[in-house]
């Protein structure tokens, strides 16, 4: 059965390998360039003792086209699920070849297990390879901007792309088995993947672990260290109440009535007044140290969902008429 799978997917496999190689060339060139820029900038700032301002400087680590390409790699885990997963069963049903395949001396479950197994492995390897390249490429950028926890960077680095790829493959196979037609299965896979990715990246991910809240004096603001994931920040009153409503705003905050007078004048700064009235600043965030835990949790969520989808697929396939 492994031989059979290889026979039928060798062209797709070769195509995927070729695309991966092309991406690798681009990222290796761009990554070496970025590393060189970063190291010479670092050497320069060490000499002049101005490394603290490096993050604020407009140091360019390379072409913005490559940065866009890196963001676009978030689609990579979806592709095997779309083009290999959705047609896996649906394509056989559409051409009737299931009648050939499923009357050989092999059960449908066995047939699916081997095929799905290899395709899941292929998708995971592809996504893992792309992620490894992107993770390596993003090293200098993360050192400069501390952005490893940001959406668009978290999602294309380390191990989560592997989880996404496994999920997309399982979703494609399950949709194809359920709908029995490739095109609707493609649509469902695309929509389902995009929806779950958006849901996790924009909302669910913020809550994998209880966030840390730090309070600080408004006159001495605190920023969490490293590539933390910000959830919310602002001011809080002496009794825990939010500031405002007020006529003026400072930053994104409404200046409460007690300090409104401090807002008159060209260089108005309400912070000393607010601090005097017991207002504090706070920031709620997931610390940088949780990056790997979050990568693990998110990968786990996608892998568990994939396992459920595969279970449903096996159940349908062995029960329903072929």
């Amino acid at each position: 059965m492994t031989w059979v799978t290889w026979r039928q997917y060798r062209f797709q496999g070769a195509l995927a390998a070729a695309l991966l190689a092309a991406l690798a060339v681009v990222l290796l060139i761009a990554g070496l360039h970025a590393a060189q820029v970063w190291h010479s900038a670092l050497a320069g700032c060490v000499r002049s003792g101005s490394c603290a301002s490096l993050a604020g400087s407009h140091l360019s680590l390379g072409s913005s086209a490559v940065a866009t390409l890196v963001v676009a790699t978030s689609a990579v885990p979806l592709l095997p699920g779309l083009f290999w997963g959705a047609p896996l069963v649906a394509g056989e049903l559409e051409t009737g070849t299931n009648q050939f395949a499923w009357t050989q001396s092999i059960t449908r479950r066995h047939w699916l297990a081997v095929r799905a197994g290899w395709l899941l492995l292929g998708a995971a390897v592809l996504a893992g390879a792309v992620s490894a390249l992107v993770t390596w490429w993003s090293g200098p950028s993360n050192a400069l901007h501390a952005d490893a926890f940001q959406v668009n960077r978290f999602d294309v680095t380390y191990i989560v792309p592997v989880g996404y790829a496994i999920f997309a493959m399982a979703l494609g196979i399950c949709a194809g088995t359920l709908l029995r037609r490739t095109l609707p299965a493609l649509a469902v896979t695309l929509a389902g993947f995009a929806a779950l990715r958006a849901l996790t990246a924009l909302w669910l991910r913020l809550h994998y672990m209880t966030p840390v809240t730090v309070y600080y004096k408004l006159t001495a603001p605190v920023t969490p260290t490293g590539s933390y994931l910000a959830i919310s920040q602002g001011w809080i009153g002496p009794n825990g109440q939010p500031p405002g409503p007020g006529t003026y705003t400072f930053g994104n905050e409404q200046v409460p009535a007690v300090c409104q007078s401090s807002m008159n004048g060209p260089h108005s700064n309400p912070l000393p007044c607010l601090a005097a009235h017991g207002y504090r600043g706070y920031v709620t965030y997931q610390p940088a140290s949780r990056l790997w835990a979050f990568q693990g949790i998110e990968t786990g969520i996608f892998v568990v969902l994939a396992a459920i989808l595969l279970g449903v697929t096996f159940w349908i396939l062995s029960r329903r008429d072929a």
């Binding site: 026979r7 009737g96 050989q104 059960t107």
Partner: protein, 306 residues
């Protein structure tokens, strides 16, 4: 159920087999028995349930009601069972981008008793290339490839759904000869559905006739021929005949009446000339009976006066 003394091992034995799709009944109350070693012709008009019956026997579909025993057990997803049956679907499904050689390899990896050499020999004899994608072969060549692959499994039961449709007359003859040869060997039982009664008559010794999703006839062709007679006589009342025999079909012209009857004893009335029917007459007789039934129902439904 089985009569004593007539106990031949039945390779296929179904009772009340029924398959219902959402609204359509594809097969209804199908009770048949096919003894070992027979080449059975499965005939009937389009949509009579032939494909459904074959798919039920392979286990690709599950029945809504009734049961089937094939080679001693129900059709099931089990490597041992699947190794015993060979199925060739009507649309000759093969992987279009793979070559015949690839298919031989697939079969070798998925079947315990695979005879890849026989496929190479057959296709070589027919000058069908092994190294071209099967999608580029002609319909007839694809059928030959698919049949060779089905035979290479060395099944004990071969289920073929309209395998003759895509073949030219010469290829058809070769195909049927190959079937007869395969069946002569080692107790292979074959069920093949077809519309080509003349071809069937040459190789088949058993007949299953489906019409309107029901079994109309099932038995050895020799017996069926012996049981039926064509009666030709002057135009007259047929109630006397109907009292003893079952009239399958009645054709009346201005001057004479032709009847196909299933005998129940000898025909005594000397007014009827008794002739032996051929298989085609019997098949058409039962098929038209079904159509007549439909027509009568339709006329009744519209209060028909024509």
């Amino acid at each position: 159920m089985t009569e004593e003394g007539h106990r031949v091992t039945a390779v296929i034995e179904t009772s009340g087999l029924t398959k219902q799709y959402r609204r359509v009944t594809a097969l209804s109350d199908c009770t048949i028995s096919v003894p070992e070693g027979r080449i059975s012709a499965l005939v009937g008009p389009n949509g009579a349930g032939k494909t459904t019956l074959l798919r039920l026997l392979t286990g690709l579909t599950a029945p809504t009601a009734g049961r089937a025993a094939v080679l001693g057990g129900p059709p099931r997803q089990d490597p041992v069972y699947l190794a015993e049956i060979g199925f060739l679907a009507q649309e000759i499904p093969l992987y279009r981008r793979l070559t015949a050689g690839d298919h031989i390899g697939i079969g070798a990896h998925l079947n315990p008793r695979w005879d890849g050499e026989s496929v190479r020999a057959r296709l070589g004899g027919l000058k069908i290339p092994l190294d071209r994608p099967v999608g580029t072969l002609s319909g007839g060549q694809r059928t030959q490839v698919a049949l060779a692959l089905t035979l290479a499994k060395r099944p004990r039961l071969l289920l073929l759904d309209e395998p003759l449709a895509a073949l030219d007359p010469l290829a058809r003859q070769e195909f049927l000869a190959a079937l007869a040869e395969a069946a002569a060997g080692d107790g292979l039982t074959i069920v093949l559905s077809s519309h080509l009664i003349a071809d069937i008559e040459r190789v088949c010794d058993h007949l299953i006739l489906l019409a309107a999703s029901r079994v109309q006839l099932c038995g050895d062709i020799e017996t069926l021929l012996a049981e039926h007679r064509v009666l030709v006589g002057p135009r007259k009342d047929t109630t006397a005949i109907a009292r003893t025999h079952a009239i399958v079909r009645e054709d009346t012209t201005a001057r004479q009446t032709t009847l196909l009857v299933k005998l129940n004893g000898p025909v005594i009335d000397p007014a009827w000339a008794v002739e032996e029917p051929n298989l085609e007459e019997i098949v058409l007789g039962y098929m038209s009976q079904d159509q007549a039934g439909h027509e009568a129902a339709r006329l009744a439904a519209i209060g028909g006066d024509r």
